[in-house]
Amino acid sequence: MYTPEMLGLIKTVEQTRERRLKESFPRLTAEEKANILRSYHPDYMEGSMRPVRVGPNAGEKMPHAHVDLLESRSMVDVDGLSLDTIDYDVDVLVIGGGGAGTAAALLAAEGGADVLLATKLRHGDANTMMAEGGIQAADKENDSPAIHYLDAMGGGGFTNIPELVRALVTDAPLCIQWLESLGCMFSKDPDGTMNSIHGGGTSRKRMHFAHDYTGAEIMRTLRDEARNRGIKVVEFSPAVELLTDDHGQCAGAVLYNLETGQYQVVRAKTVIIATGGSGRLHINDSPTTNHYGATADGLVIAYRAGARLIFLDATQFHPTGVAFPEQIVGQLVTEKVRGLGAQLVNIDGEQFIYPLETRDAVSSAIIRECRERRKGISVPSGYGVWLDSPMIEIIHGKGTIEKELPAMFRQYIRFGINMAEMPIIVYPTLHYQNGGVLINENAESEVPNLYVAGEASGGVHGRNRLMGNSLLDIIVFGRRAGKNAAEKAKTVKLGKLTLDHTKRFNEELKKQGLGQRVAPILLPDYRGKISG
């Protein structure tokens, strides 16, 4: 429940609402956008990054949290672990049970492969489950894959890898149709036409959704299908190291049973990393929207095996994280709230940014409003700005929020805040790993037989991802990874299993005086704290 001071401030928001309903705030010019990013985006903050000293990206700057992990030693005792006893022997090993991993497993099984899916928590405990807003696909008359391409490139600051973006936008309608055929319950008109709205940075209304449970709906559908097809899944068994063979190709992984502490050896002809992102590293001490297992494990193990990373210096802060109430600070307020017409306003009830700029720009504008212009609202964790949610009800009719944003509504009403009647307070929160393991359009990494898909991969979104392109990317590249890995597995001849790459990496660390820490960390540690 709001404090009396906050309730007082809400009056200002209400008084300016009438005026703001008619007013449209101008969009940033390219130059203004570049300036605001440079001055306020956390990526450009002095001292937030350092160069990594070992491995394929040596010399490149990344956030400290990532460098710490990449400069850590293996948790596996490489000389002590016997690779002679093989616990699972499969064609395709999928690491990670989110959307990308499950899509990959389904396609690999369809391609005739014997598939094992190993995942850290339960199958589906993943960022995919939490995605609310939507998934993009250019499938309406006034839209085209080319326009989608342009939006994605512009959103990414034109740094995206063109081949990956082409794959993304051309597979998009196909992937939505695949989900539709699997019985994924998208929000539709009675005649089957899919509902669609804008997201930040889109020039067409191409965001499809399933109320505001889009990711949950996709995830539970894929998981249900994987269960129907009898795909083998081991839960609570994160991969902690890849295996290579004596020809230097990827050949499986070492799993760690979180409950018994035992290691298991998986031999696989091809491996797909789909371990998702890294929000739980709390870069810059930021709160995060991410699920409990988002700790960049896939990057760590792929890096040791020789895979190159890209754009890890570009971190996505979602402009609208919860800033109040304290209990849910950092959690997401989906972009769909702005998509439906809610405006961002400062303490004086003024707009200060076009609501549907790209995320990096909106985040920077909020930070400027609070830090430099001192027009933020004070909250226990710092400050925030208003997101005038009741406008949605005025524009689209009473009851729209409960109908279109049930998850959001529920998130706030649990704490006595009715967002249909009162604005909410938001501030940027750590949301998405823009970069990851470099892949090509076949979802191949630079390590033979190692595929990567979803948030763990990098390149497709450039330095900034648009809303709705990630749920899309996990399906597009998850499917491509699964299909290609199954196909490739048919011709792979494996040699002797080794952990030689890990040995070499450990030695390199030692030479540099590094490797005091152990990674992957698997789970964040909040013992004795109130955080996360």
Partner: protein, 227 residues
């Protein structure tokens, strides 16, 4: 937490701990020194991993909630529940018919519903679980689909059901049947897929792919935005 933090006393699996007031059960347990392996996923009410049973002083009633979305209360006794083993039918969705017969063939136990409403009372999402099971009993797949839509499959309803119905599995079968077999497929989508397969957009995409940053930026800045 800023300022002076007020503490409350809670019992986690029988042991007493002092934890800050006004935090979620999940954060309180971490503050008390627990590190979750099970029972924690999204931390935001989406994944259903964190079902918790608790009792508050002076009340005989067992309460249930999500640890990530329920606040601690003075004197609360709590324990986390493991995910319930539950019956789940396997099926080939494409071959199924969206009928009462299909629902009953896969989950015959829905006919045994006693109407006790335990499921509705316990659902942390506030769903009318009994009603969607009643709809399923009548073969009203559309209603079952819509009424169960916000289910996070936490399993709490099934843990209390005297008829041993697995409501959330009935729900997802209904949703998939509905979306696959009762809702018309999107025509615009089918059309676009055909166009893509025919290569309609290839030339334009190839042209864009060859452009350098400046050219693309110009096009980007000039693009019209649908209102």
């Amino acid at each position: 937490m800023t300022g002076e933090t007020k503490m409350v006393s809670i019992y986690i699996m029988g042991k007493q701990y002092e934890v800050p007031r006004g935090v979620t059960i999940m954060k309180a347990m971490e503050f008390a020194g627990y590190r979750f392996i099970r029972g924690c996923g999204c931390r935001g009410g989406f994944c259903g991993a964190c079902g918790t049973v608790y009792r508050t002083p002076g009340n005989f009633r067992l309460k249930v909630g999500l640890a990530c979305a329920t606040m601690v209360e003075e004197g609360m006794h709590l324990t986390q529940i493991p995910f319930y083993p539950a019956n789940r039918a396997a099926y080939d969705l494409q071959a199924l018919k969206p009928t009462l017969g299909t629902l009953l063939q896969h989950y015959p136990e829905v006919t045994r519903c006693l109407g006790c409403n335990q499921c509705t009372r316990i659902c942390p999402q506030g769903l009318s679980v009994m009603d969607y099971i009643a709809a399923a009993q009548r073969g009203d797949i559309e209603k079952t689909a819509h009424q169960s839509f916000d289910c996070i499959m936490c399993g709490l309803c099934a843990s209390r059901c005297p008829a041993e119905i697995v409501q959330y599995n009935v729900g997802i079968l209904a949703r998939r049947l509905y979306a696959r077999h009762l809702v018309p497929p999107a025509q615009h989508l089918a059309k676009r897929v055909e166009e893509i397969k025919a290569g309609k957009f290839d030339d334009e995409l190839n042209r864009l792919m060859r452009m350098d940053k400046e050219e693309l930026q110009k096009l980007y800045d000039a693009r019209d935005i649908e209102q």
